[in-house]
Symmetry: C2
Subunit: 398 residues, 2 copies
Amino acid sequence: MKKQLLFIIALLVMTNINSFAQQALWGAAPIISPEVKADHTVTFRIQAADADSVQITGDFLPTVKMKTQWGVMDVPGKANLTKDEKGLWTFTSQPLESDLYSYTIIVDGFKTTDPNNVYIIRDVASVFNVFIVGGGKADLYQVNKVPHGSVTRRWYDSPGNVMPRRVTIYTPAGYETSKEKYPVLYLLHGMGGDEEAWIALGRTSQILDNLIAQGKAKPMIVVMTNGNVAQEAAPGESSLGFTKPSMQMDHTMDGKFEETFPDVIKFVESNYRVKAEKSGRAIAGLSMGGYHSLHISRYYPNTFDYVGLFSAAIIPNENVTSKVYENIDQTLEAQMKNGYKLYWIGIGKTDFLYKNVEEYRAKLDKMGMKYTYVETEGGHTWTNWRVYLSQIAPLLFK
Amino acid sequence: MKKQLLFIIALLVMTNINSFAQQALWGAAPIISPEVKADHTVTFRIQAADADSVQITGDFLPTVKMKTQWGVMDVPGKANLTKDEKGLWTFTSQPLESDLYSYTIIVDGFKTTDPNNVYIIRDVASVFNVFIVGGGKADLYQVNKVPHGSVTRRWYDSPGNVMPRRVTIYTPAGYETSKEKYPVLYLLHGMGGDEEAWIALGRTSQILDNLIAQGKAKPMIVVMTNGNVAQEAAPGESSLGFTKPSMQMDHTMDGKFEETFPDVIKFVESNYRVKAEKSGRAIAGLSMGGYHSLHISRYYPNTFDYVGLFSAAIIPNENVTSKVYENIDQTLEAQMKNGYKLYWIGIGKTDFLYKNVEEYRAKLDKMGMKYTYVETEGGHTWTNWRVYLSQIAPLLFK
């Protein structure tokens, strides 16, 4: 064992610029942060002997009201960590509901990640640490000992779009060796997101693996597109290199994505063993992706039997001129007459889009267009979007 | 535009716990860090008004000697950032050679990531920010406007191994629609690594995309296994959940990986359109992965025409008893007699394994076993391993 230990030590010292490794090396116990306990409290630990203040902020803390020039808004709260004589700061949360949570820490006013937690997810232009509290709905978000699907990042040509586009595709366990044709869910991200959003924060592959293994969802392919048509791929994955991500991009809600959507359907249906028919197609999305799902499902008649609008934006900006947004009422009428199996709308009670969705539901009610409506607590959050995916997946392709 | 702007603002405030976004919101210029300049200097910027000291450490800085109980070792150096009147700390590097670099920052003794750089890679139990300086060898590490291969994370059964295993597979552009059979490179990680190591820090898909597009490498499939047979998958991707990664794992260099390697070959050759013959198989790896490549290529006779040992560990621990390590000299003799097209050895001059590799080369010389030898500056680093992959890929399957 001596030889292997020396090998490990040399590796640690020479290749690693890591405080954990060095602690292990010098014999101190490694810092575990976060530590999710059996009672669902979570303890965070930050070693920062020279700091005067360490705080934590994240979606596991109660929100607080913040006054802005656009009105009072809910923002994530903060909590103070407490320092011991060795410079180790700790904070233990209240017992938390089962979920995937994200957080960052603030050391003397400097906000960044917890260096003892290597699990970090990017959302738009931010990164934060994540952790999962199991024992409830988040058990679906964990990798469990069930058959696992494959996740592929692939590029396709989009002739309507002047640039190749990157897409993330989940194929369920058994797809590769089966002879069956599979149905397809097109799953669309929100503003500032990209083809990595649903697979990272959305936990799509875990949710689908688990629901399929439990017999609650049909095996299906999930196609996670990039809805920013001015962007080849997610930040860091395109020829732009490691540039700073931006929330605001050109051509995200002006009809260009909807206009070029047939390119991705054609790509999927000519490259995968799929049910290339209305009953084998679903489209759902969050926020801007809900907006895209609404307009795509109405604009291309008789294409989708299943539609999901998660915290959806609804109404086009008055300045956009795409033909996609002409005759909205007539195309909805046509969609209703053509028939569909599910038109699913979900939104949180405090979502800033609640009123828009309420108005849209009133319009559908007036038209007599049927839909399934789910109202949850909370707002415009991944907490809700993971729940909506977990709820809609079992309703598809039945 | 007003409606869309309000929509973005609401999204930023409600869903984002991000200083960049909030800066953008309140009108301040976003902080760009790192900024890679035309002269190849790089400026780092950290906003930390209340900090007394901000430092940076990373592999772009000259190494320094550190005295340890195991001798003097080279470790990454540190540099001090300078504070301005607004609490913005900056540091500008010397002009840097083209490469992918990694770094972390240290605020009042607290080491973590740069919050303005969303590009973060995990290596074993550490995370650090990365950036690329182009204009040289690292142009191969960038996503360029060339045809892109696909990257799939997939699970396979390993009957020799009692648990399913996750693998990362690169298929070159055009694979899916071609009728050709492709050669396969098995590319193995080092100790503490996993099936994510070569695709993340190794930049395998970018290097292969670029070399293939330039006509310098043959289109090939690259199979990046997980060499820790006691582990289903990379940290965070297995049923262990978001637990702390460990450098030291059971059964990493005791023959178990070599013993079960036929499982992955069988999986690949029955699931992909490949040249299932010696001339269509290569195996290469770094450090522990070089060790695995050495022993696998010798233990399974007539299986690989191409072998690559990158900064390889060589000699088994004296306590291991696997039959894989019996008759090393005789199996090397047999490998030599059976013939191969390339036996490639690369190592850095300051690598702590340099002497072991030197002894191994002396053994091969004595046997008359031919090999290609490349000696580079530097040590046991990803800088070297990316170079070795860039150098060996054009030599394969010719």
